[in-house]
């Protein structure tokens, strides 16, 4: 591209740039985010944190966001009943536009999330990043790890295939006793050994309880990371 056309392009884009800056300033002024933006713009990141091992938390987040997007799509067509689950999965895979891809991406992203979160925990442990003052960040992270595994297990129940039997056996074997707790035992229906109860309980956990819980804990996790920064190098 010659100088003349570059100049013309810059001139054409200038109003767009000005509009963007004006809009940004307008939002910042009205939302009271001036201080937040100033702090963010002056914030620096330690050089050792550029190592890919320090990006694993970010990879986990991206996988979670992909899961949320594909999950919204799949939930629109999924039918959480003993007779309807397998049929709706079949419809998603064969009749709905992009259904096969959404289901496939959901499955891949779930595996990426588990692997990334395990490696992230291992990295934090190896670098001793859980020490004072980051104890709460670590504890919140461990709870997020537990939520991730519960997410995967409850997700296995939903397609009502061979893997669902595996998940129902695992969950009822390990957590079925929780259903015996007086008054609140029903909350643990996802750990039932009855297929119908396990399916509705798992669906409820997978699309309502766990997403809300994971988002709340993620917000606290990010706040604490922002507050204490990234730990020092080894």
């Amino acid at each position: 591209m010659d100088k003349e056309s570059t100049g013309a392009l810059s001139k054409a884009l200038l109003p767009l740039g000005k509009m963007f800056t004006k809009s940004r300033d307008w939002i910042i002024a009205r939302s009271g985010l001036e201080r937040f933006m100033e702090e963010t713009e002056s914030k620096t990141v330690p050089k050792h944190a550029l190592n890919p091992a320090y990006c694993l938390g970010g990879v986990t987040l991206v996988a979670f966001l992909i899961l949320a997007l594909t999950g919204f799509f799949l939930a629109n067509y999924y039918e959480p009943s003993e007779g309807g689950a397998q049929r709706s999965i079949q419809i998603i895979s064969t009749e709905i536009h992009f259904g096969f891809y959404a289901k496939s991406i959901h499955s891949w992203a779930a595996n990426v999330m588990v692997i990334a979160v395990l490696l992230h925990v291992l990295r934090v442990f190896i670098t001793g990043s859980y020490k004072n003052p980051r104890e709460l960040t670590w504890m919140g992270g461990v709870i997020l790890l537990v939520f991730t595994f519960l997410f995967v297990l409850t997700g296995y129940v939903l397609p009502m295939d061979e893997r669902s039997d595996f998940a129902i056996t695992s969950m009822s074997g390990a957590f079925g006793w929780l259903r015996g707790i007086p008054h609140v035992g029903g909350v643990f229906n996802w750990a039932s050994d009855t297929v119908g109860e396990a399916l509705t309980g798992s669906y409820w956990m997978h699309v309502t309880v766990l997403p809300i819980a994971i988002i709340l804990f993620l917000l606290v996790h990010f706040y604490l990371i922002r507050k204490h920064g990234i730990s020092g190098p080894l």
Binding site: T44, A109, P133, M139
Partner: protein, 125 residues
């Protein structure tokens, strides 16, 4: 109650923190986001809806332990590992970060990983 001890940072260390969060670091993070998204999309495009097939590798170890001992024992072990992880900052209170200087804790976690791996392998046999 333990006081929160903010990390002391020397001037040299402070200068090391020279990479601005905005836009440099965040742009790199966006790069990683696209890379991961791309990998997932390509993987899905290859039409392999189940990445590792059945049974899933992450839970085989726990299920094997439940099969070999008892469901309650399996649940107690999982619960104990979670409690151990939650309590780690209060058990490992030294200021040392390097694994070589935290050998006991490192050995405990390695043992947990080794047991998990062993049960997973047994589950596949």
């Amino acid at each position: 109650m333990t006081e929160v001890e903010p990390e002391k940072e020397s001037k040299a260390e402070s200068e090391e923190r020279s990479r601005p969060f905005l836009p440099n670091h965040i742009m790199e993070e966006i790069g990683v986001v696209f890379l991961i998204t791309g990998i997932i999309l390509i993987a899905a495009a290859l039409r392999r809806p189940e990445p590792f097939g059945f049974p899933n590798i992450f839970f085989v170890g726990v299920l094997e332990m439940i099969d070999l001992v008892s469901p309650l024992f399996g649940a107690l072990v999982v619960f104990a590992v979670v409690i151990l992880l939650l309590a780690m900052p209060f058990l490992d209170r030294s200021e040392e970060q390097h694994p070589r200087k935290r050998l006991i804790f490192f050995a405990v976690i390695l043992a947990v990983v080794a047991f998990w791996t062993a049960f997973t392998v047994m589950g596949f046999l």
